[in-house]
Amino acid sequence: VTAARPALEAAALRNAITLAAGVVPHDGWVAAVGLPSVGVLAAAEVGLALDHLVFFAVPPGQKHWGTVSVAAVDAFDVVVLAVPARPRLAEVRRLVGRARERGTTIIATGAGASAWGGEARVNTAAVDWEGLGCGYGTLRECRVTIELDGRGSVRPRRLDLVL
């Protein structure tokens, strides 16, 4: 799960794709479900292979979200999932079960991600971009402070990362 305040939505998305690029095996397949606005160039920059990255569009409403997500979880190695606000708990449980059975990694993001009981939670607390002055420079690198929290072996902690 990656979450953030609405203003830092883009940073949460950046965390999600960076995470996906980190966990996907060589020649593995990544699905992005319900994320029409993810920056494809950024995905390529963090190291995802565009020919192994499939975008699934999900029409609004609960009905299709579950079906599409299950299809993706069944086949792909990593699924980046935009969770709608207030997902049905039964569906979430079904997805988690399938993912465990198949060995798929689910990275949940979006409005309903906070309702998701995943193994680990990555909350984007603060973002700071470097390289930009007042009227000069360009954005160069991004320092992200994340709060890590989770079950089992995951200790709660704060981390500073440079993306």
Binding site: A7, D27, E45, F55, T138
Partner: protein, 523 residues
């Protein structure tokens, strides 16, 4: 061994482009795929690199290959030949084949038949399509498909562009041909390095030695070189339950729907064939309309027909039929939507088994992905699953094109790698909305920041008012002007981009056009 006529149109894409008389080269993936006669005279050959071809013939126009257009136009030619001979097989746009036994007796011998066919084909191009025929096709008759294809190519340099290889003389005809014509680049390469320069030399090898060295593919090549039928097993009658069909209710009146359904059923067809250990090398595609009109066409392929190429052929056939209206070649233009599509394998062979590549991706993974995607596409339509290709451009949204899963991912490399002045440097934004979101960029006095024609800002930005409320600007850079298509009155756009960093930590890419600010992307 069946006598076969092959019509081989070498420069079909050039003819379709209507440029047979000029010096034109048609390029796909940076390789020349077709050459007009004028460019050929300057030394351009099929298979050259684009730059090499332009070096030989600098005045030639370079056109991209358009398979769909070529196939549609070829449909007219096939229909014309079909009025003389039954069971015409289309190999690919520009090449067709049929068995000549019956027609040749009817028209008074092989020589009369090929001359007649050539006239009919050239007439169809001139009158029905209204195009210059140019050099025209090579037409030849020989024993079997392979010999006839090579003969048709050889016929292009003959006097009246027809060639008749007498029955039983195919091996003799093939013997002096270079070994590269064998139809399998890997085998041709090894044979050449072994010192076997001609098909005759390769054919003279012992069949068991060839089998030991090259496997099943080698035996096929050896039989071809000997002028024999490719497959050792006689084609088996395909079991009727292998054919698949799909009905459309309500009738489909656009090609896309048919083509999409074809993708699903052709996967089903391939599955059925594989379960029996068979591959199809010829296929009948039948399309029927609500009013009972029917169009049936046989498609042949040198290798096995896989699901994707079947779907492509369905699209060509349906498009060719539905757009016949303009060409008026035959009267059976459909008057209603398409209700039925049936695919039946017409010729099947035992599958010899293809070795999996040692280092490539695992085929099961790809198949698993294909199945999952097909399920979603079946539910929500083809646009529901897409992949992205980078096509080049300035803005983050313009640089990317989404293609439906299953469509070709080919891109124009030169466009993607062009310098694009005004493009934003890396890193790229992580969030790119489909449509820019309206936004206000304000200066210290609270009025909107303006950018003039010299790309100067009226005042430094201090706050932005966007979808997430008011945010203070802590750093900014730009503006980067992007003046696009200034030569085109309708498509011209003058915009400028601005990177801003906000107190909340977010960083945005803003764009201004005609005094209005938009949020184009967020980092």
């Amino acid at each position: 061994m069946s006598r076969t006529v092959v019509v081989w149109w070498d420069d079909w894409p050039v003819v379709v482009a209507g440029r047979a008389a000029d010096s034109v080269i048609v390029v796909s993936n940076n390789r020349v795929v077709a050459v007009s006669a004028a460019a050929r005279a300057d030394g351009v050959r099929v298979g050259h690199r684009r730059r090499e071809a332009q070096g030989h013939c600098p005045s030639a126009d370079v056109l991209p290959l358009d398979d769909g257009d070529d196939a549609r136009a070829f449909e007219t030619v096939v229909a014309a030949v079909e009025q003389l001979c039954p069971r015409v097989e289309v190999v690919r746009p520009g090449v067709l084949a049929f068995a000549s036994r019956g027609p040749s007796r009817y028209f008074g011998g092989d020589a009369a038949l090929v001359a007649q066919i050539r006239n009919v084909v050239c007439d169809a191009v001139r009158t029905s399509l209204g195009l210059e025929a140019g050099v025209g096709p090579g037409v030849a008759v020989a024993d079997g498909n392979f010999a006839a294809s090579l003969a048709a190519r050889a016929a292009l340099s003959a006097r009246d562009r027809v060639l008749v290889v007498p029955p039983g003389k195919s091996a003799e005809f093939l013997a002096p041909m270079p070994v590269s014509a064998i139809g399998d680049p890997a085998i041709a390469d090894v044979a050449r390095r072994l010192g076997l320069r001609t098909l005759g030399a390769f054919a003279a090898l012992d069949a068991s030695d060839v089998l030991g060295r090259f496997g099943a593919a080698g035996i096929d090549a050896h039989r071809r070189a000997n002028g024999l039928e490719v497959r050792s097993l006689a084609p088996r009658e395909p079991p009727p339950e292998l054919s698949v069909e799909v009905t459309f209710d309500p009738p489909a009146d656009n090609v896309d729907r048919v083509a999409f359904a074809a993708r699903a059923v052709s996967a089903e067809l391939a599955e059925g064939l594989r379960a029996r250990g068979l591959v199809a090398t010829a296929l009948v595609i039948e399309v029927e309309t609500d009013h009972g009109e029917k169009r049936e066409r046989r498609w042949r392929s040198e290798g096995a027909l896989d699901a994707r190429s079947v779907a492509e052929r369905v699209r060509w056939q349906a498009e060719g039929w539905l757009t016949d209206v303009a060409t008026k070649v035959d009267d059976d233009v459909p008057t209603a939507g398409i209700t039925l599509l049936r695919l039946s394998p017409d010729e099947v062979h035992e599958h010899e088994g293809a070795a999996q590549s040692l280092w490539g991706g695992s085929p099961e993974a790809v198949e698993r992905i294909n199945r999952a995607v097909a399920r979603v596409q079946g539910l929500l339509g083809p646009e529901a699953a897409t992949t992205a290709v980078i096509v080049g451009g300035r803005g983050p949204a313009e640089q990317v094109r989404m293609v439906c899963w299953g469509d070709a991912r080919a891109v124009d490399e030169s466009r993607a790698n062009a310098p694009w002045p005004g493009r934003m440097p890396a890193p790229a934004p992580a969030l790119v909305p489909d449509d820019p979101v309206p936004l206000d960029v304000l200066d210290a006095g609270g009025s909107v920041v303006r950018v003039n024609g010299r790309a100067e800002m009226s005042a430094p930005p201090v706050t932005i008012v966007g979808p997430h409320g008011v945010d203070r600007v802590t750093g900014w850079a730009g503006p980067w002007p992007a003046e696009e298509r200034w030569w085109d009155a309708a498509g011209a756009r003058r915009r400028a981009r601005l990177q801003v960093r906000c107190a909340s930590g977010a960083a945005h890419l803003c764009i201004v056009e005609r005094g209005r600010w938009w949020l184009e992307a967020s980092y």
